[in-house]
Amino acid sequence: MSTTVWIILAGAFFTYLTRVGGHLVLSRFDRIHPRVEAGLNAVPAAVLTTLVAPAAVDGGPAEWTALIVAGLVSLRFGLMSMFLTGAAVLIAMRYLLA
């Protein structure tokens, strides 16, 4: 097998390890301390924010408008409406500002 295939398979192995690993470690404990519980509850917001914030800072007026409008839409409507509105605003703004 080529080096590339080995890199891919090793990458896949370690990726799977991350996806089972957290569970394997945590399931060894019978009780979860309330602070650990609080930390785990924070995981989705904390991690997903890091996938948005740097991209937002690197963006310009078009990206900022799209995020703000999408954020406002999400206060009232579901994820799909929020996403499609955000995408439409982004494309329109980029077209207008180009």
């Binding site: 090793a10 509850n41 997903l48």
Partner: protein, 240 residues
């Protein structure tokens, strides 16, 4: 027989419910699948290798980093390490999600963890928060379309990547951040949501400018989680 068909009906409804939840993800991730395929071939992967990576690693950001480093002729072990670092956030997803599916048989868990990508995790958490049960059939119903389309997008991108020239104009580079913002907003009922989001945002922005990518994900996440740990009064309760 009657009971069985009722159960089958319920199962297939669950499957389609999951499949419906996958639609937005399939749309949002398509550009990245195409882009990954194109980048992989540009950086010296064969079409087959690009597809193999999407089918086995199955993690967009880490795949992008992987082919980028491969193109720069970085040592193989460094490439593998970078893939691991980018995906290390899944350790946290795994710990949280594992508690939601305690009752599943081991082999179902083993399969489910393979598919535990960002939107799959976020949607499962949202469902758990709404008090709905997370069934294996629902989970797989969501996972299969996402994974199959991810592989198909990679294939198309790898074969026709050179046609993908004006990616910026149609906004494909910024669709995922919009999607992830939606996921962040979905968790706004959780304790200390706003302070956690603000701290993670600031920390990840500082980290990306100083330490650099992909470390900003771990650093930003750690800052927000640490804040939650500190703010928690340490008393019992405060369920998700």
């Amino acid at each position: 027989m009657a009971v069985e068909s009722i159960e089958q009906g319920a199962a297939s409804r669950e499957f389609w419910r999951g499949a419906r939840a996958s639609i937005a993800v399939v749309v949002a991730s398509a550009p990245f699948g195409l882009l990954f395929g194109a980048l992989a071939v540009q950086n010296g992967f064969s079409v087959g290798e690009a597809v193999l990576m999407s089918a086995t690693v199955y993690g967009g950001a880490s795949q992008m980093v992987g082919v980028e480093l491969f193109g720069q002729k970085v040592a193989p072990w460094m490439i593998v390490l970078s893939i691991f670092v980018v995906n290390s956030r899944h350790l946290l997803y795994s710990a949280v999600f594992g508690r939601r599916i305690k009752h599943w048989p081991v082999f179902q868990k083993a399969i489910a963890f393979f598919f535990l990508v960002d939107p799959q995790f976020a949607e499962s958490e949202r469902k758990a928060e709404a008090g709905e049960p997370i069934t294996f059939v629902w989970y797989i119903g969501m996972a299969i379309p996402i994974c199959v389309f991810w592989i198909l997008d990679t294939l198309v991108g790898a074969m026709f990547g050179s046609l993908l020239s004006n990616a910026h104009a149609i906004g494909i580079d910024f669709l995922l951040p919009i999607y992830f913002l939606g996921m962040v907003m979905d968790f706004r009922e959780r304790p200390y949501w706003l302070p956690i989001v603000l701290v993670s945002a600031v920390a990840s922005i500082i980290a990306v400018k100083t330490v650099g990518s992909p470390w900003h994900v771990s650093i930003g996440a750690a800052a927000g989680i640490l804040l939650a740990v500190i703010l928690n009064p340490g008393t019992q309760g405060q369920k998700a």
